[in-house]
Structures are given as structure tokens and as C-alpha cells.
Amino acid sequence: MSMLTEHQQRAYIGGQAAEARVNLELETDGMTLNIGPQHPATHGTLRIITRLDGEQVISAEPVMGYMHRGYEKLTEVRTYPQINTLINRIDWLSSFANEVPFILAAERLMEIEAPPRAQWIRTIFFELSRIANITLFLGEMGVQLGAITAVFYAFRDREHVLNQIEAATGGRFHPNYDRIGGLKEDLPKGWVAETKSVMAKVRDFCDEMETLVGTNEIFETRTRGIGVIPVEVALGYGLSGANIRASGLDWDLRRDSDTPLAWKEVDWKVWTHPDGDSFARYWVRLQETREATLIVDQLLDGLPAGPIMAKVPRIIKVPPGEAWVATENPLGEMGYYLVSKGDLGPFRVKIRTPSFNNISIVPWVLKGVYVPDVITILASLYFILGDIDR
């Protein structure tokens, strides 16, 4: 560094000071923007407090609990059949999938195994509720990015799946079909053939969504490279489901955990995507929906005959003990930790819902993105409010 005269040094310091002062005067505070609790992008009553610098997010903090219904506490004062109807409402778009892990946990404590036909039908309905849930996501993602038409197609074709669920269980959204030891009743006549044709329709819908949204160049510019979650970060925040598979981790509880359900009996594939951005999450879910229709088709073909109910006492009392069962729900890993003291109802139930963990990454992933990307990322993380707040 060359020598500077004292005058030069002083001039330099003075200049810096003046500049700093100007910067200080011109600096404006960030703006706090409340996204929610009433906002179309939050699917309900999630609130995200964002600090903005212009259109850029400095910090974002999700505030949840506006829809807390106290299910964990409520289960302590209800009997097992009653809980079954309540937990339908946790993730309301794939209600049947909520019942399964709870029933499996109770069955494990009671050392009952449902007959194979019941397990196969359970798996079919599990996948049907996955389809019902994710088809809506495929459309919803479009509507969050401005393509309104997509969501109407989603509602249109989800209707077929819901009709099938209703025809067998009696409930469109809240089937309440699973029982400890089996199922409520067997399938009605003609259901299998009808469901197969619905699966073909869902595959058509997936193709349609892919042309309308998935391969749209504008959609790709909006989602590629937006909200990238590296796999280490995803693991650190406890992401699960399609969100972590989109980050490249090949992890699916349907394949990797030991449940008595019938996934092991059929031939299917876990889809992953290496990118970890919003597009990858959309793509993985799209492929999973296709895969789910194929699983259902195979299960329908190989449906074993037999009873659907094991021998279960009329009044259900679960013997004392603890059990943890988690399944791969449409949104990710959903698990119940069931503690029983041998009463009519459980002593304590801890519900691990996927959306709660998936949304916890929001402060990390929203840092530094633009406001429109907030919506893209929230939509691609895909949460259900009931699943967060439960």
C-alpha cells in the first residue's frame, strides 16, 4: 500500500463517514407483511410473518395454532372407536390414511392381525386417499401460480376417487372405515371394476396436468431453482414424504418400514428427484400419483378372498403398553405413539403429523426469496392446516 498523506487519509475517512451518514438517512426499515391468517395461499389459517425489503423476504416466521383442535388431549377422553372418527379430521384430504397408523398401533398392542383381505383393502384405500389428496395438490400448485384452470380439473377428477371411497365406506371425506382387527364392511359388488376405470381416469388426469402445468415453460421458470432444500437441511428439519424424496433421499416408509399392509406384495417404485426445488417436489408428487394408481390396479387384481375381520372382543380394551407406528401418508411420515393403561381409551397419544415438520423449514427456505416465490414454496411444500395444527 502506498503512503498517503495525512490530508488524503482524512479526506478518505471524511468521505466514508459522509457516505455512511447518507446511507443511514436513506435506509428504510423493512416492511412487515402478514401473510395470513386469512390468505388464499395458506390453505386455511396459517399465518406467516414476513419482513420484507422491497419484494425480498428478510425473515419469515410461521405462526401456527389458529386451528388447534386438541386431538392429542381429546384422545385421552374418548374410546378407541370414537378416536377413529376423530382422527379422520387431522389431514382432511386423506382421511383414511390417518386411521391406518392408529389402528395398526392399537392392533400391535392387542396382538391382533387383521386378515389378509382386510390388509389389502386397507392398502387400496390408503392409496386412494393418497390419490385424492395429491390430485388436489397438483391442481392447487397451478392455482397458486396463477393457472386457475388446473384446480378445476383436479376437483373434477378427484370426484371420481371420492365417489369410489363413498361407495364402499359411506363417507366421502371421513370414511371411518378402519376397525381394530379389520374393516367395517366388505366392498360392494362392482366396486373393483369401477375403481379400475377410475384409476385409468386418474392417469389421464396426470397426463393432462403434466401438459397443462408440469411442462409449461412459465411454470418451469417459476419453480426451477426456487426453494432449493439440500438433503442435509431437509433431514435436519425432519422433512418427510415427497418433500424429502424431491431432495434426493430415497426413503419411503411404505417400502422401508415393517407394516402388515400389502405394499410388499406388489411391484412399484419410489420416485426421487435430485434437485430439491419446487419443481422437483411437484414432479415427485405427480409421479407418485401415477405410481399409486398402478399400485391400486395391482392390488385390485390380486385381492385375496376371505373374511375382513379378525376375532375381536366386543368391547375394545387395549392391554397396557406402548406402541409407535408410522406410515407413509400422502404428506409424509405420520405416526402415532400410543400409550395404553388397559382402559377403554388410550392414556396418551402423541401424533406426529408430516405437515408440522414440513412447515418448520419455512423460516430457513424463505430467507432471501421474493414474495411471489413465498407462495410457490409454500404451495410446493404442501401442507394441510389440519395436519399442522391437529
Partner: protein, 343 residues
């Protein structure tokens, strides 16, 4: 105008004002009913409104009545004067657009020599209204929407104007009647029966004009300012009742006007082969029908895109305008100019 010659100036003026006051809401109603209610519904495999009138044709009456009845709400901290003025400014811009659009040899409110220039100039006034609305609403969403709209409308004004320049060069006239005439009298390699609709030579200009129009109307894929899934409705978020209706009228009236402009400049306007360019009853009766049909065809494309595409992010649509549309439109002008000199 044989009829108008016998009237005093103020009488003519009154008729013109009245005509425009009738035409704008009617045009808007037709656009909303055909495209927003019915076409959008069918594209989404729905039926749309069906109860009011046969096949829901009177739905707009009901909607209009609903808007009129609603209370005009303004936020407590809103700048009341600007807040109430903003929708009027937007609406004014739409009304002024209709002044220069010719629907027949004698059917035009004011055949300005600088017709297309005037149209593009007054269409920009709506930016002011949008900005005013965004600012005066005292709402963060509205402010962001207003600022986005302003940035976007300014960016897309350029390709809009530049796309028109090609047409102007080819027609050698700035007045819309002159452009229609140029198209009618043009020949395709000596074959003059269908004239020369400029869409054949200015297809690039036509595409650019449609894209820029889409942005001017803040419709998908360029609807970031009103993005309902994030800014809820942008600058319109605090408006209710009649004031909201004004924005609505402004938006869809402008959609009609821009479609009509595109039809006039690129599709031959009110002229079809066989019509007398110089006037006459037949041309004045058939002209509006022809223009209307062409306008609806253009509007169909605009709304078709609206209902299909997701939206671009604000910075992406800016870079799209500056990096692609504007250079392309400059190339278009260059090529048109070169051809004009050569032939």
C-alpha cells in the same frame, strides 16, 4: 357522415358521448359474459352461471345490481380523495380508448389523424389510476400491487408502441381509418381481392402486440399486480361496490378496446371484401358487425391464454419485456422499414 352534417357541433358531441357511454358497458358486459363466465367455465369443464335468465345470460344484471347496492368502504387511513378518484381515472382511460376506434367508414367518434398514437397514449392513463389506488388504499398488499402494476405497465408500454410502429410504417398513416384503408387497398403479390391484412406481413408485430396487451390488461401470464393467490387482488383489494365495478369495467372494457385495436390494425378492421371504403349505408351497417366479430376472435385468444397459463414473477416478466420483446420489436421495425424502402 351525411347525418351528422345537419347537426350542430354540440348535438354531434352529445350523440358521440352518449354512444360511448352505452357502448363501453355493453362491450364490457359482452366480454365478461362470453369469456369470463362462459368460456372460462367450459374450459374448466363447468357450466358457469346458469340460473339468471336462459343459460345465465342475465347474470351480469344481477351482479351489477349487487355491486350498486354494496356499501362503499374505505380504510380509515386511506387518502380518501385519491382513493375515490383512482377508479374513475382507470375508467376514463378505457372510455377514451373507444373514441378513436372506427367501426365503419362513418362510424367513429373522432377520426383523429394521430388515432393510434392517441389510443396508446390514453391507455397509459390507467397506470396512474392503478398507482393511485395502490398508494391511497393504505394497504401493503395494495401498495405492492400498485408498484408492480406501474413497473409492469411501463415496461410493456414500449413493446406495445414499438409493435404498432411496424404497422404504421407499412400503412404510412397514423389514423386508424387510414390503417384500415391501407389494409383494404393492399395486395398480396398482385392479388387484391382480400386486401392485405397486416397480420400477414406483421405477424411478429401482431404476436408482440398481443403479448404486450396481455401485460397491459394485467392478465395471466402477466397478472402479478393482481395475483390473487399472493396479493389477493393487488391494488383492488380495498375497493368495494361501485368503485370495484369501475375497476372491473375498466379492465374488461380495455380488454375489448385492445382487441378491437388489434383487429383494426392487423385483421383489417371493419372492412371485408365487397364493402365500399368510402361510406354508404351497407358499409356502415356491416362494418360494426365485422369489427365485432374480429374483435371477439382476438379477445378469444387473449382470454384463452389467460385461462391456461400460470403467471410469471415480476422480475421474470420485466426481463422478458426488456430482453426479448423490445429487441424483437426493434428488429420488426427495422425489417419493416427496410421492406418499405425496397418496395
Amino acid at each position: 357522415m351525411t347525418l351528422a352534417l345537419e347537426l350542430a357541433y354540440w348535438q354531434q358531441l352529445a350523440i358521440k358521448v352518449l354512444a360511448i357511454l352505452v357502448i363501453v358497458p355493453t362491450a364490457t358486459a359482452i366480454i365478461v359474459q362470453t369469456f369470463l363466465f362462459k368460456m372460462m367455465a367450459h374450459m374448466q369443464s363447468r357450466l358457469g352461471p346458469m340460473e339468471a335468465g336462459p343459460h345465465g345470460t342475465l347474470q351480469l344484471m344481477a351482479d351489477g345490481a349487487k355491486f350498486v347496492q354494496k356499501e362503499l368502504l374505505a380504510p380509515a387511513r386511506a387518502d380518501r380523495r385519491v382513493f375515490t378518484l383512482a377508479p374513475v381515472v382507470v375508467l376514463l382511460s378505457t372510455f377514451l380508448l373507444f373514441v378513436v376506434i372506427p367501426a365503419g367508414p362513418g362510424i367513429v367518434a373522432e377520426n383523429l389523424d394521430l388515432g393510434i398514437f392517441f389510443a396508446l397514449a390514453v391507455s397509459s392513463i390507467s397506470v396512474l389510476g392503478v398507482l393511485m389506488a395502490g398508494w391511497a388504499s393504505a394497504n401493503k398488499y395494495a401498495l405492492m400491487g400498485g408498484l408492480r402494476a406501474a413497473g409492469q405497465l411501463i415496461a410493456y408500454e414500449l413493446p406495445l408502441v414499438l409493435a404498432v410502429v411496424g404497422v404504421v410504417i407499412q400503412a404510412g398513416d397514423l389514423s386508424l381509418q387510414g390503417i384500415v384503408r391501407a389494409q383494404a387497398e393492399g395486395e398480396i403479390f398482385g392479388f387484391g381481392l382480400i386486401g392485405l391484412p397486416f397480420v400477414l406481413t406483421q405477424f411478429l408485430g401482431f404476436a408482440l402486440f398481443l403479448i404486450a396487451t396481455q401485460a397491459e390488461l394485467t392478465q395471466p401470464p402477466f397478472d402479478m399486480p393482481v395475483a390473487e393467490s399472493e396479493l389477493v387482488a393487488g391494488f383492488q383489494v380495498e375497493y368495494s361496490g361501485l368503485q370495484f365495478l369501475y375497476f372491473y369495467l375498466g379492465e374488461f372494457g380495455a380488454a375489448f378496446a385492445f382487441s378491437a385495436l388489434a383487429a383494426t390494425m392487423f385483421l383489417g378492421g371493419w372492412w371485408v371484401p365487397g364493402l365500399d371504403l368510402e361510406g354508404g349505408l351497407l358499409a356502415n351497417v356491416v362494418g360494426p358487425v365485422v369489427l365485432f366479430a374480429k374483435t371477439m376472435a382476438v379477445a378469444f385468444v387473449i382470454f384463452w391464454i389467460r385461462f391456461t397459463y400460470p403467471r410469471l414473477r415480476e422480475d421474470q416478466l420485466q426481463s422478458f419485456a426488456w430482453k426479448y420483446l423490445i429487441p424483437l420489436s426493434l428488429v420488426n421495425i427495422l425489417v419493416t422499414g427496410a421492406f418499405k424502402v425496397i418496395f
